[in-house]
Assembly symmetry: C2
């Protein structure tokens, strides 16, 4: 474990305590920067370095990291699966941070798709744009 990294973590953790387990988990996430991990995968990797570490510690640590802005949870707005009638017209979603409303809107995605094809060689089949912020209503009130 790199001493610098531990200092980096300590700084970010403001007030929270530094433990071997937290350092281990941080190091692993750092090491695989750019990849996205299931909690359980992180747990298995952590276990290699510290066989006594517990799954619930990993969960708790990730939650603390989240609060401390160390990690970002992807798609944090989806806890359950959601369903809707399949629309003909493509649309996107805004999640309002104030009122929690999910607001549908549409915008042209073709230019984006074309750009991605050119730039990265991707063939785009579906595109979801999820935006979170403040909706018009909440901005006014």
């Amino acid at each position: 474990m790199d001493h610098n990294e531990i200092c980096e973590l300590r700084e970010k953790m403001q007030g929270r305590r530094m433990t071997k387990q937290r350092a281990t988990i941080f190091t692993i996430i750092k090491q695989y920067e750019g990849k996205h991990h299931h909690v359980y995968d992180l747990y298995k990797l952590a276990k290699k370095k510290d066989p006594k570490i517990n799954l619930s510690t990993v969960y708790r640590t990730l939650n603390e990291f989240k609060k401390a802005n160390v990690v970002e949870e992807l798609h944090l707005e989806q806890e359950h699966h959601h369903y809707e009638i399949k629309e003909k017209k493509e649309h996107q979603h805004l999640i309002c941070e104030k009122c929690d409303a999910v607001i549908e809107f549409s915008m042209p995605t073709k230019p984006l798709k074309e750009q991605l094809a050119k730039q990265y060689g991707f063939f785009i089949k579906k595109m979801h744009v999820n935006v979170s912020g403040i909706c018009r209503k909440c901005r006014i009130h």
Copy 2:
């Protein structure tokens, strides 16, 4: 229950059988078109119309609806929570349908944000663009 709606469903269900439960669930989803429901919410609504309906029926029905293209599951690519180091630089994700890889790429989102502000009055804080399709590698091989 509207006779037209049932016919509409029957058409889409191609081969699958029409049951009271499926009609009930379809009607509810239709009725709340544009809203997104947790499975459990749908179940509770369905229960009002058909007190004997079972949660697992709702799950199974939604899965069939999905296969039959009646409904769309949102964020279907996320079964677990994923974590990564919080990046300074914004980036987006492509999920390749062939190899399941999650590929990071970046693209300018400022123009989009500006457009949404103008058009809808949204104040955008975060923007996730999730694209699924075929990555360059898989297109070539």
